[in-house]
């Protein structure tokens, strides 16, 4: 009596996270990134009008990680879902431009000129620096 052969699933037919529709990947990543920033914000609250150190650190960390992720991605074979989930969804949501803008406005509104200038310069210059460092780290061993 011949043993019944079990059908071997074809690789291309296997359902996986790769099959996630693009909007779901962005939503899922966005959930993680938004939760992470809300949690950091709750853990390290900054009073209105004080120097927005929490947003600054979140934006710098996110810029470094995005530079790193995109540089790594060029060498590893990563699917488009990971770009949508991690880069667009998670890191895109973790960092924020709207809060940055409102915080600068609030500092200017309180005539905290030095803090406002320092915050803008630190965000942009260190943000660019962090992303470049991330890209360089991502290319190590290439």
């Amino acid at each position: 009596m011949p043993a019944r052969s079990t059908p071997v699933p074809r690789r291309s037919r296997r359902r996986s996270v790769q099959d996630l529709p693009a909007p779901l990947a962005v939503l899922g990543g966005g959930l993680i990134g938004s939760a992470a920033r809300a949690a950091v914000g709750a853990a390290f609250p900054v009073a209105v009008g004080a120097f927005p150190a929490t947003t600054l650190l979140v934006n710098l960390a996110g810029s470094l990680l995005l530079g790193l992720f995109l540089a790594r991605r060029q060498r590893a074979v990563t699917r488009r879902w990971s770009l949508r989930f991690w880069a667009i969804g998670a890191l895109g949501s973790f960092t924020t431009f709207s809060t940055f803008s409102v915080e600068v406005f609030r500092l200017l509104d309180r005539q905290a000129w030095a803090s406002a200038c320092g915050y803008v310069l630190a965000s942009i210059l260190f943000g660019l620096g962090a992303a470049v460092i991330g890209q360089r780290l991502g290319r190590v061993g290439r």
Partner: protein, 116 residues
């Protein structure tokens, strides 16, 4: 609770960013990253409106969470580097930084003064 609500609305904001920035970029011929600029400036205006009107309740936290997902800082940085920043900043990169930052703060102020 606030973290949970902000995470939910933030993810919807992320999806809106993905769709809207793609739509803006695809409708233009420029290689400047105007899709990201568009969602960021919209996010700054919306958060200004929200902060001006907010009474601190959960509904406003939810709305603010949406703008956090809609706008992004990291993509702005990485796209600016793509315009040429190392070793010498290009005109396009500097313009992308100065124009977006200035308009962002101006729109946040405008939004705040409309509702406050």
């Amino acid at each position: 609770m606030t973290v949970f609500v902000a995470a939910l609305t933030g993810s919807v904001g992320a999806l809106a960013r993905y769709l809207l920035s793609g739509a803006i970029q695809n409708r233009s011929r420029t290689t400047l990253p105007i899709g990201t600029a568009g969602v960021n400036l919209l996010g700054a205006l919306l958060l200004g409106l929200i902060v001006g009107a907010s009474d601190g309740s959960l509904l406003w936290t939810a709305a603010a969470g949406f703008t956090g997902g809609l706008s992004t800082f990291s993509t702005w940085m990485v796209e600016t580097i793509g315009l040429g920043i190392v070793p010498k900043p290009s005109f396009r990169a500097v313009a992308n930084l100065l124009i977006v930052a200035t308009l962002g703060v101006a729109l946040a102020a405008l939004g705040y003064h409309i509702t406050n």
